[in-house]
């Protein structure tokens, strides 16, 4: 409960700081906050936008959480997201289920490169996952300029995927599915022996080994799950939102995932809330740019401030 308070306080503080920043540039802070609010949850259209935006944030955030709980930093969610999307595009002619499955496998495989390098060569996953991001980005660039370029050859983008995710009402099915995945990850972490051992490995690998856990293999499985979740994120975004691949398909999602995971106190269910908050901030900032001419970059600033407040507060708690 205390942690929920910290997250809520950090969110509120980040909003207050944004209003303050806007005020220093001569904008009315109240107007800024109202526009952010209305632009994100003020109409059904705005809410749809926020919900849609929350899907990739939630899934990359969950990806970071799973790896972190096993004691690894997965900074590679962006690469795994891309790997998933490419696989989903290729598999989409066999239907949505096949596409999502392929994406999960591709994401897991991409993440496993990093964990295998850690296990075999002790290469730090912080560095390898960053490198794998670049490789994925350039691979995507090659795909949409080469083998996967649209048949007309007009733009560097792929043809639309052969299948697409249906909508429930006016919201595409990725929204409820991503929440189901968050609940599933919570269940995995806190209600299964696998999750127990995974968290034990992250808390104290030495003690986990004394309890008979093969911590290397445990870390490998956690990274695979982490990558699979990010890969599914890529599939959802492709099949439900963009339908095509293009070079900047995943821009920044991996790093936003870290922000989501941190504000969500590295807990899967709390991640739903933090993903929604950041999504709302992003759609609200879009409206702010359209109506008030204030850069939508204010959303990024908000993410940063929320994380910094979380860090500062958790430091105070640790040293209290």
């Amino acid at each position: 409960m205390k942690r929920a308070l910290v997250a809520a306080a950090a969110s509120a503080a980040s909003l207050a700081l944004l209003a303050f920043v806007a005020a220093t540039f001569g904008h009315s802070p109240l107007l800024v906050l109202r526009t952010l609010f209305e632009g994100s949850i003020g109409s059904s259209f705005a809410i749809e936008g926020t919900l849609t935006k929350s899907v990739p944030l939630l899934l990359t955030g969950l990806s970071v959480v799973i790896a972190f709980r096993a004691g690894a930093w997965n900074i590679g969610a962006e690469g795994q997201f891309i790997a998933g999307a490419i696989a989903a595009l290729l598999a989409s002619r066999f239907g949505n289920v096949a596409a999502i499955l392929a994406a999960a496998i591709a994401g897991a495989a991409w993440a496993s490169i990093a964990s295998l390098m850690r296990l075999w060569r002790n290469a730090p996953e912080v560095l390898t996952t960053i490198l794998l991001n670049f490789i994925a980005i350039h691979l995507l660039g090659w795909c949409v300029n080469g083998p996967l370029r649209e048949a007309s050859g007009q733009y560097p983008q792929s043809d639309p995927a052969s299948s697409s995710l249906p909508a429930i009402g006016s919201v595409y099915v990725g929204v409820p599915l991503s929440i189901v995945i968050a609940v599933a990850m919570w269940w995995l972490l806190y209600r299964t022996t696998e999750g127990l051992r995974l968290r034990a490995t992250g808390f104290n690998a030495g003690a986990a080994r004394y309890a008979g856990i093969n911590t290397g293999w445990q870390l490998f499985r956690a990274m695979a799950i982490s990558g699979a979740v990010a890969g599914i994120g890529g599939a959802f975004e492709l099949l439900g939102v963009t339908h095509r691949l293009f070079e900047r398909f995943a821009a920044g999602y991996g790093y936003s995932g870290i922000a989501v995971a941190l504000l969500g106190q590295l807990h899967p269910l709390a991640n739903i809330a933090s993903a929604l908050f950041f999504a709302a901030l992003t759609t609200g900032a879009g409206e702010l740019q359209r109506s008030a001419g204030i850069s939508s970059a204010i959303a990024t600033l908000g993410q940063a401030m929320a994380i910094l407040v979380v860090i500062a507060v958790s430091w105070r708690r640790r040293n209290a």
Partner: protein, 268 residues
């Protein structure tokens, strides 16, 4: 071909300066993912106040990184990520608001020779031929052994951050005032992250950093040649190659490589 190399050298000057800064910081035991944000902040600072504005902005980001990771003992990865977002959001926002008061573009590019000749020599001497460099590296290898010799590892990590800030400040100046006519949103465009890769590629050495920057820079410059020759498809694979090589280097496929022992570890 010669012109491609010349182009590559000038175009990779900001990258090289970031690599050099990050090299010093990593040698002192920190992974500063925030070098990307530091470069962007420096470019923004340069567009307002020239070199001094750039360095001041970079120092500010370095100060925040040190405050959170050294003083508050926060995770380096988290802090770096947060600072990147902070600078990306902050500069984009401010840029729109402030209607680009652009400082004078640089006529004579002195930064390129500094990056490719002066800085490497100074850093190589500082890190490997002075007692201060010895202690800075010790902070990155084994802070406890350093404390046992009654040195403060925190002090040397701060020093490394200060050096990085100056170098990245120059990088930002070059980016905004020599290569372009002022600031543009997200104009660092991932160079900070690439710098991180180059430091690994160069196996945490000055010579390796220069070679790595040259390789990454030439790969990037070749893309224009390939595009011009209507070979636009292949350049993406070409761009990916240095990262694949770096990955293999990190796995020790090409011989012994070793990151500083305490890299990324907190001081507590």
């Amino acid at each position: 071909m010669l012109s491609v190399i010349a182009l590559a050298v000038v175009a990779s000057t900001p990258l090289l300066l970031c690599v050099e800064g990050e090299l010093v910081v990593q040698r002192s035991g920190m992974i500063n993912l925030g070098v990307e944000g530091m470069l962007l902040a420096a470019a923004f600072g340069a567009s307002i106040g020239g070199v001094s504005g750039a360095v001041a902005a970079a120092v500010f980001v370095a100060f925040l990184f040190g405050l959170f990771t050294i003083v508050l003992d926060a995770d380096q990865i988290v802090t770096g990520t947060a600072l990147n977002l902070l600078v990306l959001g902050g500069t984009s926002l401010a840029y729109r608001e402030m209607q680009s008061r652009t400082a004078q573009p640089i006529r004579l590019d002195l930064i390129t020779p500094v990056a490719w000749i002066v800085a490497p020599i100074v850093l190589a001497v500082l890190l490997w031929s002075t007692t201060t460099g010895l202690r800075l590296r010790a902070a990155g290898e084994d802070p406890n052994a350093m404390r046992a010799a009654r040195w403060s590892p925190a002090r040397y990590r701060w020093m490394a951050l200060a050096i990085e800030a100056v170098l990245v400040g120059l990088a930002g100046t070059h980016l905004a005032l020599a290569q372009s006519n002022g600031f543009a949103e997200n104009m660092s465009a991932g160079r900070g992250f690439i710098a991180l890769s180059v430091v690994i590629f160069g196996r945490w050495s000055v010579r390796g950093s220069i070679a790595g920057t040259a390789l990454f820079g030439i790969a990037a410059a070749l893309q224009y040649a390939l595009q011009a020759a209507n070979q636009g498809i292949a350049f993406h694979l070409l761009l990916a190659t240095p990262y694949v090589v770096t990955l293999l280097i990190l796995c020790g496929v090409t011989g012994r490589v070793r990151a500083p022992e305490a890299l990324g570890k907190s001081l507590r």
